[in-house]
């Protein structure tokens, strides 16, 4: 018998197969040549005599975006009326120009009565073809209202516990902090993210990063709230009010035609700014090509991508999220207004040589009065005759609020206090006498005071780290000495200095040094989000891994020499966490978590929870631990009076809390004890059964009850004598034999 397949081959017929779906997919589009054509609609209907004039006007407008000429504008005449029909076909030199015309000139008002509409000819063909447009109007269907989950449900926890996110191995989980006990899981999913996770600034959303884009999750069921399509996204940033999202990818976007979110104008862009609520793309931006990248590219292998350090975020948000800005190094600061995402006053703020800028993190109050204007600060280096400068600018009025000239500047860093009351500009500069040595000046702008006075604190050494007290006016800084030549240790020793203002009758006094601790390895400062407490740590260092917990308002005796200071500094505790890479305060300032992430090194990954004074609460070793993130809390909704009232009655409240804690500890203890009791009983019962069985079986074989007993019998009663002979050299003599 012939094999089966021969039969089928005979019957096979091309004609029977429906190729229409494949045809549609792979059919060659023949309209390619028409890509450079656009259709202009909404023109006035004119007689032939006036037509050249209209063409001229139109041509002038159309030439703004591309090259075309009068011959390429075809405006057909109606045979009956001898007038133009009000539309025209225009051919541009390239399809790109045609596209630009559609984008930029569509909706342009030619005069009061006529607004022109420009579309690609191919689009008209595609969408406007006979039968594609339904002649009758159908009202769009209104989707039924779906009740949304409360996105801030975690705040209504009866015990007001905080949540944190743990990313380890392939698992991402959100847990409730249970202090000394094992955290309680709220949700735990595998492969929830592909690179990292991030909370939104007010804690509403958990963000997961994927190869195809970003997803936001939230609510009690942890369902997906929104997703944003951005292939190969690397980093993200939220606006402070969680309205907008910036995504950035190292790879410029290459748009596949027919993508619903990313149009052709997104081609080659690297930054996308989204509206979080609607999920719509507001605007896309290309990366700024920095001039210093050019020579590097020529030097290195062309194939290898140039790795540049980027300082994230690049797009910085103003405190009220009304503006987002980025710096075009050396040229300008581009400020965009939300949500239209247009440039403020339609032009960039031109500042020659600008290096860096930062928004005030809160609306600053100048001279006690609340100014509705946002403020940003930028600095420019020395250029020609112009000295280096730090300037404060009001936005949107673009007026300079304060400017200060500086000399011998190497670099400057801007540090805002989180309420926007102070700005510290850390200026690294050449020492006056020795050109090689560097020193640091701290220039304090008292933004909240009238005319913004500036105070200068000179530091002899290089300041490597600086941090303001949140909601306060004190700060900590770490200085590093010059590296000792030929020393085995690479990193020089550091000193930690604590500063606070002097006590004066009204206002804030001059900043004064409280104390300096020298010969440390510390390199990081972590303030409690509520101020007062600070952790000074040595992170990601070979030299050590210590954490030091300081209190700025110690309630004990204070040193005589520090009597006129507004702080009483006290070291509350020190701790050691081997290989620590990250430190994070919880949003209430009660707990500190130090963690060791496998992203930095593979040794002893895990996290420790401490309380604010450095007592260890929980130590967890987690295999392949990656991230620990406290869930941020939105600002309190209680008024100042209500907060004051609570503070006053804190003792009463804390009594209740203590009792709750005690109860919980007891019940937890009871659970453990019960479990152990059960385990012990089970074990003993099993042993009894087995021993009985063994005795019986031994008896059957005629053996004594326990084989061991016979060997040890008698031995137990008397003490065993162990004879040990030790030889010792008591003394050594050397005698000379004559």
């Amino acid at each position: 018998m012939a094999p089966q397949y021969l039969d089928t081959e005979d019957k096979f017929d091309d004609e029977d197969i429906d190729f229409s779906d494949l045809k549609e997919q792979y059919d060659v589009r023949l309209e390619e040549g028409l890509d450079a054509f656009v259709v202009v609609d909404g023109l006035p209907s004119v007689t032939e005599a006036i037509k050249p004039k209209l063409v001229k006007v139109l041509l002038k407008k159309l030439s703004e975006v591309g090259r075309t000429n009068a011959d390429a504008i075809f405006m057909p005449l109606n045979d009956e009326t001898k007038k133009t029909e009000g539309y025209a076909f225009v051919e541009y030199e390239t399809p790109e120009q045609a596209l630009a015309a559609c984008k930029k000139l569509n909706g342009f008002a030619l005069d009061r009565a006529h607004t022109i509409y420009i579309n690609k000819l191919t689009d008209i063909e595609r969408f406007g073809r006979e039968g594609r447009i339904d002649e009758t109007y159908h009202a769009p269907e209104v989707e039924p209202f779906v009740e949304q989950e409360h996105l801030r449900s975690w705040l209504s926890d009866p015990n007001c516990r905080d949540q944190f996110c743990l990313y380890r191995g392939d698992m991402v989980g959100v847990f409730w902090n249970k202090k000394k006990d094992q955290p309680e899981s709220a949700v735990d999913r595998s492969h929830w993210t592909e690179s990292f996770v991030q909370w939104s600034p007010l804690g509403t959303f958990l963000t997961s990063i994927h190869q195809l884009g970003v997803q936001l999750w939230g609510g009690p069921s942890w369902k997906r709230i929104m997703r944003f399509y951005h292939p190969y996204v690397n980093l993200i940033d939220f606006s402070p009010d969680e309205k907008y999202l910036v995504t950035w990818s190292n790879k410029p976007i290459s748009v596949v035609e027919g993508n619903p979110t990313l149009g052709p104008e997104e081609e080659g862009k690297q930054f996308l700014i989204w509206d979080i609520k609607t999920g719509t793309l507001l605007r896309s931006f290309a990366a700024i090509e920095t001039s210093d990248a050019q020579p590097e590219e020529q030097k290195g292998d062309k194939a290898a991508p140039v790795k540049r350090k980027i300082h994230w975020p690049i797009f910085k948000w103003s405190a009220d999220s009304k503006y987002v800005a980025r710096v075009r190094p050396g040229q300008s600061i581009d400020v965009y207004e939300t949500p239209e995402m247009g440039l403020l006053d339609k032009k960039a703020i031109r500042i020659d040589g600008v290096v860096d800028f930062d928004w005030a993190p809160a609306i600053p109050t100048v001279g006690g009065k609340k100014t509705p204007e946002q403020m940003l600060c930028y600095w420019t280096p020395e250029m020609g005759n112009q000295t280096a400068r730090v300037s404060l600018m009001n936005i949107p009025s673009k007026t300079i609020a304060r400017q200060r000239n500086l000399v011998n500047v190497i670099d400057a860093r801007l540090h805002w206090q989180n309420e926007g009351k102070y700005l510290c500009v850390k200026v690294d500069r050449h020492a006056k006498t020795n050109k090689k040595a560097t020193s640091t000046n701290l220039e304090f702008f008292r933004v909240a005071e009238k005319d913004i006075p500036v105070e200068v604190v000179e530091i002899k050494e290089m300041v490597v780290n600086f941090a303001w007290e949140p909601k306060g006016d004190r700060f900590v800084l770490i200085t590093a000495g010059e590296p000792v030549a030929g020393a085995a240790v690479q990193t020089p020793k550091t000193s930690v200095s604590f500063y606070c203002p002097e006590k004066i009758k009204t206002g804030v006094g001059k900043f004064r040094l409280i104390r300096t601790y020298e010969k440390r390895n510390s390199n990081a400062i972590y303030w409690s989000p509520k101020g007062r407490f600070v952790v000074v740590a040595t992170v990601h260092s070979q030299q050590g891994a210590d954490l030091e917990f300081y209190d700025f308002d110690f309630e004990g005796e204070r040193k005589q020499s520090e009597k006129d200071l507004t702080a009483n500094l006290q070291l509350m505790g020190t701790a050691d966490h081997y290989g620590v890479t990250d430190v994070d305060w919880d949003p209430t300032g009660r707990y500190v978590v130090s963690s060791v992430s496998m992203w930095k090194h593979m040794m002893e990954n895990g996290y420790h929870i401490w309380d604010f004074k450095g007592t260890s609460l929980l130590e967890e070793h987690v295999d392949r631990f990656k991230q620990f993130l406290w869930r941020p809390r939105p600002p309190t909704m209680l008024s100042k009076e209500e907060q004051k009232e609570i503070r006053k009655r804190l003792r009463e409240y804390s009594k209740v809390f203590d009792e709750e804690d005690l109860y919980e500890a007891e019940s937890a203890n009871k659970e453990v004890i019960d479990k152990r009791k059960r385990q012990l009983d089970e074990w003993l019962a099993w042993r009894e059964k087995v021993e009985k069985q063994l005795r019986e079986e031994r008896a059957k074989e005629g053996l004594p009850e326990d084989s061991r007993e016979e060997t040890w019998a008698g031995e137990e009663e008397g003490d065993t004598v162990i004879e040990e002979i030790r030889e010792e050299v008591i003394s050594e003599h050397e005698e000379e034999v004559v």
Binding site: K677, L680, W683, L694, T711, W712
Partner: protein, 339 residues
């Protein structure tokens, strides 16, 4: 509890055994020599010389007259403990990874390696307790492992079963008289080697250590997993302590990876877990390589550990060790006294 450091071996320790009285300690290492020590002070009693390859295993019979050793020179040797005389040599086609006397000293099992086309086996020899007698040349029976090879094996109470631990993480139960397979269970994670298997003093249950970072206690009769001890490092060895209800686990990072990280990371500590509550009680530091073997004094007064670093550390427990009790245990013992 200052340990006694026994520096008699030149290469990594492979197994340690106390004799039944607990006064002697036998250790084998990869350096071809067996050492006998006084457990009380760490003085070396003597050595047993003759093996031509790395030694993998040692056991002493209940009366401390005979010593059996297995080595990479494909032999099991039987020695007179007192004199160090080699009484018998059994030859095999492959290395011997484990030997053990039965509880009454009349049987000896040996585990041979699967290599060079030979399947892994467990052989059982009859042992004549008389030193001067000639020992049987041929085994009573041989169990051939057709599946995953056995890495370790032990006798149950009354020589009823032979329990085997396998390369694929399974545990097998064989008849002690005929060598027939009764059952096997996948006690540990598949494809994680079982590295050690030690019986409780009365041989009714045993502990297994595995590279899957856990140790488990199983019942001899039905191979039911009774307890699981979870650690953060691959385990090489585990033992059950006498007197106190603890287990001692040892392990550490793979020897070949040790040089790439600090000793802190290596986790070369002996870990004490509560046998019944499965919770960790404490750790003993000291070795600077992974622990290959731990053994508990039969009276529970001390323990010894041998490491990849070539040292044997003998520890004697202090009073607090014996006093330590969980609240639940204290309550239970108080109740027993009342009754």
């Amino acid at each position: 509890m200052r340990p006694i450091l026994l520096q008699g071996h030149e290469r990594s320790i492979t197994q340690i055994k106390y004799n039944r009285d607990g006064d002697l300690l036998f250790s084998t290492a990869k350096d071809h020599v067996v050492c006998a020590w006084y457990s009380v002070n760490g003085e070396r009693l003597g050595t047993y010389q003759g093996h031509q390859g790395a030694l993998w295993t040692v056991d002493v019979n209940p009366t401390t007259t005979l010593l059996a050793t297995g080595a990479a020179d494909n032999t099991i040797r039987l020695w007179e403990v007192k004199t160090g005389r080699c009484l018998k040599t059994w030859d095999f086609p492959t290395a011997v990874k484990r030997v053990e006397f039965s509880d009454d000293g009349t049987l000896l099992l040996g585990v041979t390696e699967m290599r060079m086309g030979y399947l892994g086996t467990v052989v059982v020899f009859p042992i004549n307790p008389d030193i001067e007698a000639t020992q049987a040349a041929e085994p009573l029976f041989t169990i051939t492992m057709s599946g995953s090879k056995a890495t370790v094996a032990a006798w149950s109470y009354l020589n009823k079963y032979i329990i085997t631990g396998h390369e694929d993480g399974s545990v097998g139960q064989y008849d002690g008289k005929s060598g027939e397979l009764i059952q096997d269970v996948q006690a540990h994670e598949p494809d994680f080697l079982i590295t050690d298997l030690q019986m409780a003093p009365d041989r009714t249950y045993f502990i297994t250590a595995s590279k899957d970072k856990t140790a488990k206690i199983l019942s001899v009769d039905n191979l039911k997993v009774l307890k699981t001890y979870v650690t953060d490092t691959p385990l090489n060895t585990a033992t059950i302590t006498a007197k106190k209800d603890f287990v001692i686990l040892g392990g550490g990072q793979e020897a070949r990876d040790v040089t790439t990280t600090s000793s802190r990371q290596g986790k070369f500590e002996a870990r004490f877990y509560h046998k019944i509550f499965e919770s960790e009680i404490g750790r003993v530091k000291g070795h600077f390589g992974p622990l290959n073997t731990v053994a508990c004094h039969p009276k529970g007064v001390g323990y010894a550990s041998g490491g990849e670093d070539g040292y044997v550390r003998v520890h004697h427990f202090d009073k607090p060790y014996f006093d330590f009790m969980f609240e639940v245990e204290k309550m239970a013992s108080a109740q027993r006294q009342l009754q």
